[in-house]
């Protein structure tokens, strides 16, 4: 390994050759402000287009200032990061950016959480000395994401996430000079593009240019309606991240406070999507064993590997980009939709509430869930199984708006029957978790033996693509895991080419899984936050008295009283779905 020695702000620095000035400075505790730059180092995700020029520094002997994020450190460089010239340049650059940015911070959805606003504060901008033309674009409202490109600063983080990380290809920089902006092809609406609604563009946007469609008012409306029985479900990843919105350390589990807050907001029943995750395992696990059994019996028509189907961003991805593989994923609906289907049938009957008088709200770490609950397949006579899905961020806003002091809430328990869950349901929120939960149940159902050790360390981690072979009492089950759609694409290409030898593959659209979802508190480029959330979910799993889905007593009861057995006709009707070919081909006549 080759090293370079240089001086930054009078401090000697030694770094590996090829390291940027920015990283070299960080290594000795010197902070250089950045705006367009973003790095999720652990996941090999880096955005450094050198576009904003906020990170400029003075390099002795060099005429112009150097952008620290994309200039390599060299031996004998003498760098100053905070001279008058540097500070003035940074402020000028920022003022120029601000001169073409709406100054509606007071009412902007990103206010208080905006990196441009923070930078203006940090650099002490009190006046913008430049006036000129402002860029204006038509606002683009998709079912989940709003694009307000007047607020785009061309950092191109969204473009990087959409193309390099997710390989979705919906967004790209168009035009040049003052007219340049990030847009779908032909400036079409996002809804018509290849967008999967994974929300990773929203998760990294430094300003209010990309935000989620806000459904909090619909939730308040439902809660205020005395005729409605309002049921809420919260996804596993929410409890591991919501605390961050209230100043808690990343990775703080707030399951009890979350439950208490939902009750104080006025929800009639506070339930857990983890319950439906356990239900998903029953259906998906049974489906996998069924396919496996037929495969082992020599049936050549069986589709393997089976792919998980919990993630709506991933479903959108294969429907739009790999429709020829649409028979491979499990037909099991996602936990959100299984929950809605059971709540509005079985549970509504139990509490004697008519379907039309029940509202099901979900709290999700995800933006694609907003679209999933609007899909036609998940409605009965036009009434959706899940009425509205709000993100972790939106829930935080609801709690703040209702003046609830979250941090001092007592820990409360979920209601029953749909609030009871196992450790297997909890880990659905992280990459590797769904397949580990499935293995815990499938192993016991297949081998009829008790699983002594439920922790499958070999399935855990942060690597983009992972594989492991699990011994099912002499039968080796080959498992693949991918998180981030770009990684998923690699496994899909292998399947298409007939090169895949996995039995089951878990796919989650977002880097890290749901803990890194597009609806989570913003990580602002700190990947240690995602790791802390992951650890929190494994911690909650460990602390659960029951850790296998099929042992959840309320799941057992649900099958006994209502569904019969997994994959029964009723289960098929309520808990399974089918997929569509959404690859829009051009027509040449």
């Amino acid at each position: 390994m080759e090293f370079v020695n240089l001086i930054i702000d009078n401090k000697p620095v030694k770094v590996e050759k090829g390291t940027s000035i920015l990283k070299a400075a960080h290594s000795v505790g010197i902070d250089i402000p950045t705006l367009c730059y973003m790095s999720l180092g652990d996941m090999n995700i880096e955005n450094k287009p050198g576009g904003c020029r906020i990170c400029v520094v003075e390099v002795e002997g060099r005429k112009n200032l150097a952008p620290a994020c994309c200039t390599d450190a060299h031996t004998d460089m003498v760098i100053k990061t905070n001279t008058m010239r540097v500070l003035n340049s940074r402020r000028t650059v920022l003022e120029l950016i601000l001169s073409d940015h709406p100054a509606d911070c007071l009412i902007c959805a990103k206010s208080g959480n905006c990196e441009l606003q923070s930078m203006a504060h940090k650099l002490g901008v009190r006046k913008i000395h430049y006036k000129g033309e402002m860029s204006t674009y038509k606002e683009d409202f998709s079912p989940t994401i709003i694009r307000d490109m007047d607020k785009c600063i061309m950092c191109r983080r969204c473009e990087m996430m959409c193309n390099k990380v997710q390989t979705v290809g919906a967004l790209w920089g168009i035009n040049r000079g003052f007219q340049s902006v990030v847009s779908p092809a032909f400036e079409m609406d996002l809804e018509k593009s290849t967008c999967t609604y994974c929300g990773q563009c929203v998760a990294v946007c430094p300003t209010g240019a990309l935000t989620e469609v806000d459904h909090t008012n619909q939730v308040i409306g439902a809660l205020a309606d005395p005729k409605k029985t309002v049921v809420v479900q919260t996804a596993p990843a929410v409890r591991a991240a919501l605390g961050e919105e209230f100043g808690m350390k990343p990775g703080t589990l707030v399951t009890g406070k979350l439950t208490a807050a939902l009750r104080r907001l006025g929800f009639d029943y506070v339930f857990d999507t983890d319950f439906a995750a356990d239900l998903t395992i029953m259906e998906e696990g049974t489906e996998l064993l069924g396919r496996l059994g037929r495969h082992l019996a020599g049936d050549k028509t069986v589709k393997l590997p089976m792919l998980t189907s919990c993630c709506p961003g991933w479903v959108n991805f294969f429907e739009k980009q790999f429709p020829e593989l649409k028979d491979i994923p499990s037909t099991a609906r996602s936990p959100q939709q299984m929950f809605g289907a059971i709540a509005k049938t079985y549970f509504a009957d139990q509490i004697k509430v008519e379907r039309k008088d029940m509202m099901v709200i979900s709290v999700m770490p995800c933006l694609a869930k907003k679209w999933e609950c609007q899909r036609d397949e998940f409605a009965t006579d036009g009434s959706p199984d899940v009425d509205f899905s709000i993100s972790t961020r939106e829930l935080a806003n609801l709690i703040k708006g209702a003046n609830i002091d979250f941090n001092s809430l007592p820990d409360e328990e979920f209601d029953n029957p749909m609030g009871e869950s196992t450790g297997a349901g909890v880990i659905f929120g992280t990459t590797g978790g769904v397949i580990e939960a499935a293995v815990r149940t499938a192993y016991e159902l297949q081998t009829k033996k008790k699983l002594e050790k439920v922790d499958f360390e070999e399935l855990r981690g942060f690597e983009g693509v992972r594989e492991a072979t699990i011994d099912f009492d002499g039968l080796p089950i080959r498992i693949g895991i991918a998180h981030g759609l770009g990684n998923a694409r690699k496994l899909l290409e292998d399947i298409k080419a007939g090169k895949s030898n996995f039995h089951a593959i878990e796919i989650m659209a977002c880097p890290g899984g749901c803990i890194g979802g597009g609806g989570q508190p913003l990580h602002h480029g700190d990947s240690s936050i995602l790791k802390a959330r992951q650890m929190a979910l494994y911690e909650e799993d460990k602390n659960k008295p029951i850790r296998k889905s099929h042992e959840n007593p309320f799941i057992v009861k649900l099958y006994k009283e209502f569904l019969g057995k997994p994959m029964s006709e009723k289960a098929h009707h309520l808990l399974h779905t089918h997929y569509f070919d959404k690859k829009n081909e051009f027509i040449i006549e």
Partner: protein, 160 residues
Amino acid sequence: MSSVKIKLNPKEVEKLKEVCTSFNNEGGELINVLHKAQGIFGYLPAEVQEIVAAELNVPVAKVYGVVTFYSFFTMIPKGLHPISVCTGTACYVRGAEKVLDEFRRRLKIQVGETSADGKFSLSCLRCVGACGLAPVVMVGEKVYGRVSPDGVAEILAEYE
């Protein structure tokens, strides 16, 4: 993808696909392929960009990004009689701007646009090497020299 607005000639589509193949369907050859595509179709409508995207396996958003970045590429078909006004230095100082304004006024189109009836399109170019005749206007292959704003109507009348 965008809804289909125009029908492409299947023979030209075939030719485009051959061009893509000749560049080994490499995504890195996007600009070269677009250059040839514009040669085939005269312009780059959405439908052509979609074919290029599919053939080279790159997002159509990227193709559109490249097409809109380079001023050489156009998504507007040229008129039957493409008008080019030279705005090179010599023509400019001898009043090309006023000539251009007169074309704009009479045709009711801006530079880069095509008239609604598809008859004329208007563009600027830089020096045709006939500075002695400045200001110069070309209509199709025909060159007009020492054009004044008053002469614009006369030129257009030739093509009515």
